[in-house]
Symmetry: C2
Subunit: 274 residues, 2 copies
């Protein structure tokens, strides 16, 4: 039989849009998750030059069997202009990384960076509600993690970023999402903390630095690092050496894949807003 | 491992553009052929509404990891406006069904309907050169078959279409392609014929009619029918009953898939013209 089993004329399509595109993991991971759930769909890589994005988006959105898009560098922020509606995370973070077409034809954008982190904690059985968090870094991924974590209603959130404006903005966001959570803009610390979260790029690739200046971490602290490469950053190595439980960037990525697929294939997600 | 083996960020993409799209076979067949040859590429179905085609094409052609497009109903003729160059078949037929991006960035269009028919004969080991052909129907597929068959230099071609203008146009085309081939516009016949070719829609789906008014066919005639559904048309049934060798539409389709994949993955095809 001159055919393959994973694609035919009825297969629904999704795409990840980026520049460059070769390094993205969504095609294999989202496609795997879609097919694992019995959905006849494929996510393919779509390489648009940076200058071509705004011109091409309206045409891409007209492809009738294309039901959703994921955005990566450098298009995450620029995709905002094309969604008719925003999910709750996207609205609070001020950006999104996935967009889906709803049955009424409108496109809704949602941010999954933070939800993937929450999902990773849930899969491990590590509760967030009622816990004391310290979050370092409030950039794109950091803001998303901040919003998603606040939605889980921790008792306390210490937040830190080199940019004071980001700190004030996230402080206000947390107060709105979870009024009972005590928020503090503080220097990174490990004392009085249940969960330590790194959302800065410090420790990425060949960078062996730590995002926090400590020699040891109390063993009861759960340490999360959003960095995917390397899998074991200096922070996670220290945490392991101290007997801490750790959650890595790859787990966040897997959690995000699961949440994005929910978003793609559900007719309506709870976070949809008018 | 949360991944699939057939698609990742480095996978090159092709697409078939049509409206509707669910019935197309290229996604499974071309993808199978690409992967069989060790090419990391997938052809996906791309459903554009008829009104969206001209607006979307320039954007699709800017997708940097998209190396080729196949066109089906209703876009075959309309795609002509977007190719910078035409292959020899496309130029002579006045239309094409596939377009590929060449290394210099230009897009070249080529017509494979006829080449698929020639390929089917070659795979069976049935020579065309020096043979006497009778071709019924000179519409889209018929014109393509006429041009591709003429390129094989048969000794004689009888051609028939209800539209005299098509007959005159194809008569001139054959004379140009193969000056030594004797061409005649004649009523469909089976006497003095080595290969009988049906390229009309007569016999398609529930139509049990014959494209030629005969009660028997000499057993030495090879009978071809371009119709894919049903696989065994009334014409092919009669031919089999008469002891003739037959070639079906599905073989033409398979031959076409092989030729299109050559066209997609070769840096330069011999039929490229400036």
């Amino acid at each position: 039989m001159s055919q393959v089993s994973f694609i035919d004329g009825k297969t629904r399509v999704y795409a990840i849009v980026g520049d460059p595109i070769e390094q993205v993991r969504s095609p294999e991971m989202v496609t795997w998750e879609l097919q694992r759930r019995g959905v006849d769909a494929v996510l393919f890589p779509l390489h648009l030059g940076s200058d071509d994005f705004e011109g091409a988006m309206p045409s891409l959105m007209k492809i009738r069997n294309l039901d959703g898009l994921i955005f990566t560098i450098p298009f995450k922020a620029r995709a905002m202009a094309f969604a008719q509606r925003l999910g709750e995370q996207a609205r609070r973070v001020g950006g999104f990384n996935a967009m889906a077409r709803r049955p009424d034809g409108t496109w809704i954008g949602e941010m999954f960076d933070g939800l993937g982190c929450v999902e990773a904690f849930k899969r491990r059985g590590y509760p967030i509600g009622g816990r004391r968090l310290m979050l370092i870094g409030l950039g794109g991924a950091g803001a998303a993690i901040c919003v998603a974590m606040a939605s889980e209603k921790p008792s306390h959130m210490g937040i830190f970023d080199l940019d004071p404006a980001r700190c004030e903005r996230m402080k206000a966001a947390i107060a709105e999402i979870s009024p009972d959570t005590a928020v503090e803009v503080v220097m990174p610390r490990v004392e009085g903390v249940d969960i330590l979260l790194n959302a800065t790029p410090v420790g990425m690739l060949n960078d062996t630095r730590m995002p926090i200046d400590v020699g040891r971490i109390p063993p009861e602290v759960i340490v999360f690092d959003a960095i995917v490469k390397p899998e074991r950053t200096s922070l996670l190595k220290l945490a392991e050496a101290c007997g801490c439980r750790t959650v890595g960037g790859r787990e966040m990525m897997l959690g995000q894949i699961a949440r994005i697929v929910n978003f793609f294939i559900e007719q309506k997600v709870s976070s949809d807003t008018a």
